[in-house]
Symmetry: C2
Subunit: 153 residues, 2 copies
Amino acid sequence: MTARPTLERTLELAAFVPFRLNRLAAGTSQYLAIVYQERFGLDIPQWRVMATVGSKQDCTAQYIAASTRMHKTRVSRAIAELEVRQLIERVSSAQDRRERQVRLSKSGRRMYTELLPLALARESSLLECLSPEQLAGFLTGLETLERFLQLED
Amino acid sequence: MTARPTLERTLELAAFVPFRLNRLAAGTSQYLAIVYQERFGLDIPQWRVMATVGSKQDCTAQYIAASTRMHKTRVSRAIAELEVRQLIERVSSAQDRRERQVRLSKSGRRMYTELLPLALARESSLLECLSPEQLAGFLTGLETLERFLQLED
DNA sequence: CACAAATGGTTGCGCTCGCAACCTTATCGG
DNA sequence: CCGATAAGGTTGCGAGCGCAACCATTTGTG
C-alpha cells in the first residue's frame, strides 16, 4: 500500500488527485452535455433545475438550491429563463406569499420525460467502461469521500 | 450487479454520478484551497502554473496549458499575474522568438518549496479517509474513467 | 400591537473565463 | 526569396457567476 512519505521535491500535477478529480468532473460534464445542451438547449443550471423539479413537483427555489448545492442567485436565474421558455410555471404560495411553488409546465414535462431516459442512459454508458467490481469499488470510495467532505444532503 | 434498466420516471440528482463527481471536485478544491489560497494568495490557475513550473523549469505557456488542460488565455493571465508578483520570470527563447521560457524566481522557488509539502500533505489527509482497499479501488476506477474519457496526457 | 430580526427571492456590480480576433515570428511551397 | 499559412502568445468582449444589497413578507419579542 506504500504509505509514501511526501519527500519528493516536485509534483506532477497529472498525479495529483484533486486535480484529477476536477479534470474528471469537467470531462464527465462535457460527456453529458450532448444530451441536455445540444439536444434541448439547456445549460447546466437549467438542467439541474429541470431534473429537480421533475422529481419533486411544487418545490421552492430554496429547495432546489439546497438539493443541487447551487447558489440561490444561480437557481433564480435558471428558473427565470426556464419560465420565459415556458418549461416551468410558478405560483405564489398561499400560506407564505414570499415563496413561489415551481412546477413543470405541460411542455416542460414533455421535455423531462424525453430527457430523463437519455441522461440516465448516458450515465450508464459512461459507467459501463468499468467492470462491475471496479464500479462497486469506485462508488464505495466516492461515498466515503462525500461523507468526509460532508457533501451529502 | 443489478444492470438496472432505466425505467424510473424521476431522477434523484443526488444519486446521479456526473452530478456527484462535480460536487466532489468542488468540495475537493475547496478542501485544498486553504493551502494555496488563504496561505499564499494564489487562485487555482496560478497554483497550477506554480506546480507545473516548479516541476519543469524553462517550459513554455503552451506546455503549461497542455499539461494542466487549461485554456491558453487562462494560462496567459495566470502567468502575467505571477510575473507581476515576481514569483516567476520569463525570458524570450533564442531559437524561437515567439515563445518565452517560464521559470520560478528566487522567491517563487521559496514559495514552491514551502507550498508543495503542504499541498501533498493536504492530499494525503483527504485520502486518509479511505481504507487502503478503498483507495486502491477508487484509484483504479478513476484511471479507467480517465482513459475512457481520454483525459490522460 | 409595533417594531426588530429573519427568510424567500431578485438584482446591481465586479470578477473570471472562453471565444474570436489579433500581433509577432517561423515555416512551408513555389 | 517571397508570399501564404501556421504557431506562440495576448487582448477585447460578452456571458455566467457569486457577493452584497435590496424588496417583500413573515416571525419573534417586548
